[in-house]
């Protein structure tokens, strides 16, 4: 049984259908990436899974329970944690407070402390910034805080929306390395990316979404070498 199963999902903004009949699944322990161009419906997919949007039809099952239509905070509490596009940092709070908010719905203080330590080991840079207002950090550091914060809520599925957006190539490398480390320590990841090359490198499996429907899927390595994907997303001629 998959950790997350999306079945025939359709989502529309008013009269415009952003996602049509999409199905995907994420197995325990995988990194699955959803790649596609601008406006293909990638973020819409994540926002629907995390409850920010209500689907017009279709089902979303997380750990065998149907979650479509539930309020977002309930879904987050059940372990499906979304790092929104543009990072969603609490700019006027310190980095420390941002991390504390990550553990908002947890009560096991000893475990939270351990998770905090683990998150800070992943991102030494974040540790240096703990007392600083999060808004004064660089874009890359903010992305690190956003991921560290999400880790503090102990996600069973971590959904990252464009973690490489607007970051320097070197920072992108760091972020993706950490994504792999997080996955190695047992967290399942659903990654939405425009940077298809990077995403396909770290992911196990991939889905290609185009104008609202899933056009291709398969092992990431296979897709990375397929002509269509290379032409459309990897810039090969």
């Amino acid at each position: 049984m998959s950790l997350l199963t999306v079945n025939n999902l359709s989502v529309s903004y008013g009269a415009i259908e952003a996602i049509r009949n999409c199905s995907l699944r994420v197995e325990q322990g995988e990194i699955v990436t959803l790649i596609g161009g601008n406006g293909a419906g990638k973020s819409t997919m994540l926002r629907t899974i995390s409850g920010l949007l209500t689907p017009k039809q279709g089902t979303i099952q997380f750990e065998r329970k149907e979650i479509q239509g539930q309020p977002p905070h309930r879904i987050a509490q059940s372990g499906l944690v979304h790092v929104p596009e543009g990072r969603g940092i609490f700019a006027n709070l310190t980095v420390e407070e941002n991390l504390q908010l990550g553990a908002y719905s947890r009560n096991d203080h000893a475990e939270i402390r351990k998770d905090r330590e683990r998150a800070l080991e992943l991102f030494p840079r974040v540790r240096e910034r703990l007392k600083q207002a999060a808004g004064t950090l660089s874009g890359g550091e903010q992305q690190m805080v956003a991921i560290a914060r999400a880790m503090l809520s102990r996600p069973r599925l971590l959904m990252l929306d464009e973690p490489s957006l607007g970051l320097a190539p070197q920072i992108v490398q760091t972020i993706f390395q950490v994504i792999r480390e997080i996955n190695n320590s047992g967290t399942t990841i659903l990654l939405v990316e425009q940077n298809a090359a990077m995403a396909l490198k770290v992911a196990h499996r991939a889905y290609v979404i185009e104008v609202g429907s899933i056009e291709m899927d398969g092992p990431a390595a296979e897709l990375a070498s397929s002509d269509e994907v290379r032409k459309a997303y990897l810039g090969a001629h």
């Binding site: 905070h73 944690v81 700019a91 709070l93 504390q100 908010l101 908002y104 910034r129 660089s138």
Partner: protein
């Protein structure tokens, strides 16, 4: 990138320190009440050390300052911490004030036959008064719940209009109330006809309220308000309110129920506004429909803006400043509004984030010190991200 072991050690120390601070703030059991006890002690000293004629000008001003601080600090929970924009705070104050006034006015008439102040310091009249203020707070809190509900769907300007409308509705409704019942005989022979609309004074206002409010009550309640506001701010509940202000989507992704946080903010703020309304009614002896109006609400909004959103001490300072200033300018009556407006404009130009931004007074000093400490370290200044 990694710093030396010594700095890791200092980091651990800092964590331990911040945890200790958290324990100190949260307290365990009764120790958390110490700040409130200190506040009440100060209130007692104030009450007994100031000259006896309670109605002296300075005492009156001191009372009003305390009440205004309660109003501004409570509004700050909605406008500053949670990031909603309410300009109907005076409406909640009036709801509380009228509720409390009708309880003490008609209550003491029924209990003691007249509306004259009953009993000495902490006598039976005082307890009736305290109960009426709490009742005022509760009724205002219910109103806060009702007004908080649209905040789940409305944002920014639209929410502001709803809260503005609430204040105006309260004002107009209060204008339509019937005349007061002035003595015990009339009250005993009252018929249903005189109770619809309720006898709350109509557009002339509710007057003749026994003046139970004194410095002790004002500053005790102020102490409680400040401690509650501060502990709320430094608690997980307060942080989740601030997260709603900062980014609703990210807050939801952290499992914060933003609907509940918004309504809670409205309810808590309205409760304190209602209690302050009770204090106000029993301080001047009158409360009138215009006290619910836009002008009053706006004064409190200005205080939260000047003080800095979310800064309790900043808003407190702004409330003191903006209450004292018009009094000082009383001699220059005709220039008063000009100076007032000019000060506001200058403030907006020079420090748009408010006096203290989101920080507290003492944090400003800490920050300066920390900056001095870290200026020599290897931490490069962060480039500001988008």
């Amino acid at each position: 990138m990694m710093r030396g072991t010594s700095s890791v050690g200092s980091d651990a120390a800092a964590v331990a320190k911040s945890e200790a601070a958290e324990v100190a703030v949260k307290g365990n059991g009764w120790t958390g009440l110490i700040p409130i006890a200190i506040g009440i002690l100060i209130a007692l000293v104030l009450h007994f050390s100031l000259p006896a004629p309670q109605r002296s000008y300075n005492t009156q001003i001191l009372q009003i300052i305390g009440i205004v601080i309660v109003l501004a600090v409570s509004l700050n929970i909605v406008n500053g911490m949670t990031g909603q924009f309410s300009i109907g705070h005076a409406g909640f104050m009036a709801v509380g004030g009228y509720t409390a006034a009708s309880i003490t006015y008609y209550g003491s008439m029924l209990l003691w036959g007249s509306t004259v102040k009953h009993g000495g310091f902490l006598g039976s009249g005082d307890w009736l008064f305290l109960g009426s203020c709490l009742a005022g707070g509760l009724v205002a809190a219910i109103a806060g719940y009702v007004v908080g509900l649209p905040s789940l769907r409305l944002r920014g300007d639209y929410l502001a209009i709803v809260t503005l409308g609430f204040g105006e509705i309260i004002r107009v409704v209060l204008q339509q109330t019937g005349p007061l019942i002035e003595d015990i005989e009339a009250l005993q022979s009252v018929g249903l006809k005189q109770l619809v609309p309720p006898p709350l004074g109509g557009s002339l206002g509710f007057s003749g309220i026994p003046k139970y409010t004194n410095l002790f009550w004002v500053y005790s309640i102020l102490a409680i308000t400040l401690v509650v506001a501060y502990r709320l701010k430094s608690s997980s509940a307060g942080r989740s309110m601030i997260s709603v202000r900062e980014d609703e989507i990210a807050a939801q992704a952290m499992g914060v129920n933003i609907a509940r946080q918004k309504v809670t903010a409205f309810v808590v703020a309205a409760f304190f506004a209602g209690v302050a309304g009770g204090l106000f009614a029993h301080s001047t002896g009158t409360v009138s429909p215009k006290d619910a109006g836009f002008q009053q609400s706006f004064d409190y909004v200005i205080m939260t803006v000047l003080g800095g959103r979310g800064s309790i001490s900043g808003v407190t300072l702004a409330a003191v400043f903006l209450t004292v200033l018009p009094e000082l300018l009383r001699d220059f009556e005709q220039y008063r509004l000009i100076v007032y407006a000019l000060l506001l404009i200058i403030m907006m130009l020079v420090r748009p984030q408010g006096l203290l931004g989101i920080h507290e007074v003492w944090e400003m000093f800490n920050r300066r010190r920390r900056k001095a400490e870290t200026s020599g370290s290897d931490v490069s200044p962060a480039e500001v991200g988008s």
